[in-house]
Symmetry: C2
Subunit: 130 residues, 2 copies
DNA sequence: GAGTTCCATGACCTATTGGTTATATAGGGC
DNA sequence: GCCCTATATAACCAATAGGTCATGGAACTC
């Protein structure tokens, strides 16, 4: 089995990763696993749904590479595998600069508008976004 | 209907945000919008799918608060709204510490294995996770 | 070996997703 | 007013998602 290579941010994984993260039950499961591995029944206990439903969620998480399955007697403890989270984070980081700059830029634009409106009385046509 | 409010980063939004990010077409659209606002037809152009399909994707992005709609003549230029991305990133950041530690731990384990294998010839039973 | 615990899987149901085509609406150019 | 461009919307369809209940199977307990 191959760890997602460092070199190949194969975007197919992002699909599965983000899809897995889109469900609150699954996010809660990951949160639980962040504090250590846990058996299926332990993971199921907080939720008002059947064990098979949890197993399905676990399968989704596993196919996204977000968890792995161990074995300990009858138990199949799940453990968090953070690599896909790292990959997803890297994708989002790509935008961090953007939104941070964005708020600064917004301020700048507002300043600019104040100045310009103080000078020119009427702006013109083809408005872009306000 | 108005601009997506600045105010409510409720966690219900994480569902919609991650779900929106789970599709490669939508991620590509966001990437495109990171370099400036664009009309629907501009956004649709790179893709081998119909305009209504793109409009549907845009609706998903909009309901997730990831984009907003402007108006310019007949055009309805979309603009990136990074706030939900920030929220998603914050959720993931929660795990950053975890996976960074994890890789350190992995290194440590690998070191350890090298040492141990140099000494003991055969390891044993009741494996928990490798 | 019989029962029990833990988990996985199959069959089923409904709602949602992601695409299609066809049509409607809104605004600008002439 | 008429047509063209840009976008939205409706109706439809197949596939997937997220649950259910029932059953199966592996591994411990006694």
């Amino acid at each position: 089995m191959e760890l997602t290579g460092y070199g190949s941010p194969s975007p197919g994984h992002l699909d599965a990763t983000f899809a897995a993260l889109a469900d609150p039950t699954r996010r809660a499961i990951l949160a639980r696993l962040a504090s250590g591995e846990a058996s299926v029944s332990e993971l199921a206990e907080p939720f008002a749904m059947s064990q098979p439903a949890i197993s399905k969620h676990l399968k989704v998480l596993e196919r996204a590479g977000l968890i792995s399955r161990g074995r300990d007697a009858q138990r199949r403890p799940r453990r968090l595998e953070a690599a896909p989270l790292a990959e997803a984070t890297r994708w989002l980081e790509h935008y961090r600069q953007f939104w941070e700059e964005n708020f600064q830029a917004l301020d700048a634009v507002l300043e600019d508008l104040k100045e310009q409106e103080a000078r020119r009385p009427t702006p013109r046509k083809r408005r872009k976004h306000p």
